[in-house]
Amino acid sequence: MIPVTHMLVFSMILFGIGVTGVLIRRNALIMLMSLELMMNAANINLIVFARQLDSLAGQVFAIFVMCVAASEVAIGLAIIAALFKNKETVQIDYLNDLKG
């Protein structure tokens, strides 16, 4: 088994890739996918510490995180569908109606 620190750095890099995706992509679908990457990074941390501390709370909360992630994707995609119906695009920089 490998040290906890290596797993933490790995999940940090995975989280960073997710943040990068949200920051630099203009397509709302890809931004949602990057959010999923960040959720997965958090989940990996939970599982790693469940093993390190020999406690099941981490694994149980990983299930709750997955539940919230699935809900978030369902609502996010519904919002994107509604946006596409109104604006005919999913590029987020065209969605600037609130700008003064």
């Binding site: 620190t5 890099i13 995975l14 992509r25 890809i30 694994q59 699935a70 569908a81």
Partner: protein, 175 residues
């Protein structure tokens, strides 16, 4: 053969981690959104492999069912619904890409330094609680006893999401 098996059992986690990072980069940098979805599918499967290596068989199975089975299918349906080919000629990234990349790299480096400075203590040589009777039985025992209230709240959350998704996407009928 012996050497190969011992090599893989020792470095399997690192191999999985490297492949996961590669496919995750593929999600962000693919030009075609369909390629992004396929890369996301591969990422989820590889993360399930990492869970398997960390004695969490049940979480690995749930990961495959929920992500590879459910969320990816949702994304593919959404790709079919929105006409992405109209946006193909446009630029892929935002204007502040380099600044964003620099900030994220800074964040990752700072946190990596912090992680390496933390005293986490040695690895547990044997884990007993999380593998007692298999990970599934252990997780079920904890989930339905100690964490029954969050479990019920999660069910209400899923119900709200189901209603919300239907309300958001259905046609408005003028009454």
């Amino acid at each position: 053969m012996e050497a190969l098996v011992s090599f893989f059992s020792h470095y399997m986690l690192y191999i999985l981690m490297g492949l996961t990072l590669l496919t995750a980069v593929g999600v962000v940098y693919s030009k075609n959104a369909v390629h992004s979805v396929v890369a996301l599918l591969l990422t989820m499967i590889l993360v399930a492999g990492i869970y398997l290596m960390l004695d969490a068989e049940f979480i690995a199975a749930v990961q495959l069912l929920v992500y590879a089975g459910g969320i990816i299918v949702l994304f593919v349906f959404m790709l079919l619904l929105v006409a992405l080919h109209k946006d193909e000629a446009q630029r892929l990234f935002n204007t502040y890409t380099v600044v964003s990349l620099g900030l994220v790299a800074f964040l990752v480096i700072v946190l990596a330094v912090v992680f390496f400075g933390m005293p986490f203590g040695p690895e547990p040589a044997t884990v007993t609680n999380i593998v007692k009777g298999g990970s599934t039985e252990a997780v079920a025992g904890t989930l339905y006893s100690t964490y029954i209230l969050p479990f019920e709240i999660a069910s209400i959350l899923l119900l709200v999401v189901m209603v919300g998704a239907i309300v958001l996407t259905k046609e408005r009928v003028k009454s």
